[in-house]
Symmetry: C2
Subunit: 259 residues, 2 copies
């Protein structure tokens, strides 16, 4: 365990891999990506990429290997249940080139839960206790069936409440970076009115990430949020002031306008 250490560079990255035919068919709408994105941003981990792949072994193995090599952490969701279409543990074991073993503590936890709920400890439930050799359990109190962590890969359930419990469990073990700070200015004009000017500010302050997001406001008028992001509060304040000054200038030039 690394504890909740901060890295020297201050930058910790992550990818999310969502595993499941049901998401790609549209039958189930993913609720995990947005949750994990916001959660990681909050603890100073930069989510850099997300992939959704079907329940197919070669696809899962290729994605696990591509993403774990590239980012500090890879979080997976889905495919760790008791049925034949739950092949995430098998694929992660193959990606790491290690065998899959029944984890003694996972077996114990499953036996306790099964006894408490009057079920039978069968082959399907034993399937949920399999962890790639060298992996550590990622516990959750909701379903009892654990996820696991091996190397920089954290394997979680697809059910949102269970996934969220697993994320809470594993977070104290993760390196976290300097959190990205963010400021939003509501422009009260259209994106097309400020595009060029905003681009000039973005060039001047290339260390600050500036995003522009159109929306319809409470009067159903086309409006824009300008979002600035940086790890350095002083730079962020500087850019915020520059954007505010630009907006005042552009709006004075435009005068009142139809939308």
């Amino acid at each position: 365990m690394e504890g909740a250490a901060q890295t020297a560079s201050g930058i910790v990255t992550a990818a999310v891999l969502v595993i499941g035919d049901e998401i790609l068919s549209g039958r189930t709408k993913d609720k995990n990506i947005g949750y994990i994105a916001e959660y990681l941003t909050g603890i100073g981990i930069d989510l850099k990429e997300v992939r959704i792949v079907p329940d197919e072994e070669p696809e899962i193995i290729a994605a696990v290997n591509a993403l774990r090599a590239r980012y500090t952490y890879l979080f997976t969701t889905g495919g760790i249940g008791p049925t034949h279409d739950d092949i995430t543990a098998d694929c992660v074991a193959k990606a790491f080139g290690v065998p899959l073993e029944h984890h003694p503590r996972a077996v114990e936890i499953m036996r306790e839960r099964v006894a408490a709920t009057g079920g039978v400890m069968n082959e399907a439930r034993m399937r949920m206790t399999r962890v790639p050799k060298g992996g550590e359990l990622v516990l959750n109190k909701i379903s009892a069936a654990p996820g696991f962590r091996i190397g920089n890969v954290i394997v979680m359930a697809g059910i949102p409440s269970v996934m969220q419990a697993m994320l809470d469990y594993v977070t104290p073990q993760l390196k976290t970076g300097t959190p990205m700070l963010s400021e939003t200015i509501r422009a009260d004009c259209r994106e097309g009115d400020i595009g060029t000017e905003l681009g000039e500010i973005a060039k001047l302050y290339s260390d600050v990430v500036i995003g522009s997001y159109p929306f319809h406001d409470e009067n159903n008028v086309a409006n824009t949020n300008v979002v600035m992001r940086s790890r350095d509060p002083a730079r962020l304040a500087l850019v915020k002031a520059a954007v505010a000054a630009m907006l005042a200038r552009v709006k004075a030039e435009l005068g009142p306008q139809k939308i």
Copy 2:
């Protein structure tokens, strides 16, 4: 234009590439993936992969080239607005190795909209008329700013209402496959009770995709949906009967149980 032709093999595949820092930071929750997934399934196109990447040129170019080479179609969302962080058109042009040009019809449409709304036709708005050489416009009545299609890549807006209008516009041009049919049986037992038996059926009928999805029912009891998918209605009916018979047998053996 290919018209709404069906392919000989009956299988048409697609990937979705979501472009945007705001999705990865969690600030904006994606609403397009689930919509496109369901839409494509409905017209017989198999969505096989989704990626979300940041507003970074090398990432976008690499993803466009990886995905367009692998699937019948690639649909992108996001990054086609008037600001400096909208770099999708630039990246798609680079991925195809062609220049980016102001499309005459796009310029005309933008001029009309700008005149009608009392805005000014400035550099930022001209930015939205740029299309990689050889690309065709994907129109929409909501924002007026068009998306485009080049080769098998369809570039759409990130705003859901605009994206949906673009998807409707482009669909008649797409090859579509034999739609995947699907049947769902509510198991009225827990996933762990039927995992092994369901796996045996899946092995016997390997041409039918069988998925198992746990959920909590109206009595807050752990329950399971078994979803079967095939392009062949006869095979689907056969598997449905096999699953129904298995469920009846397993539940008779289990008897009433606590959850």
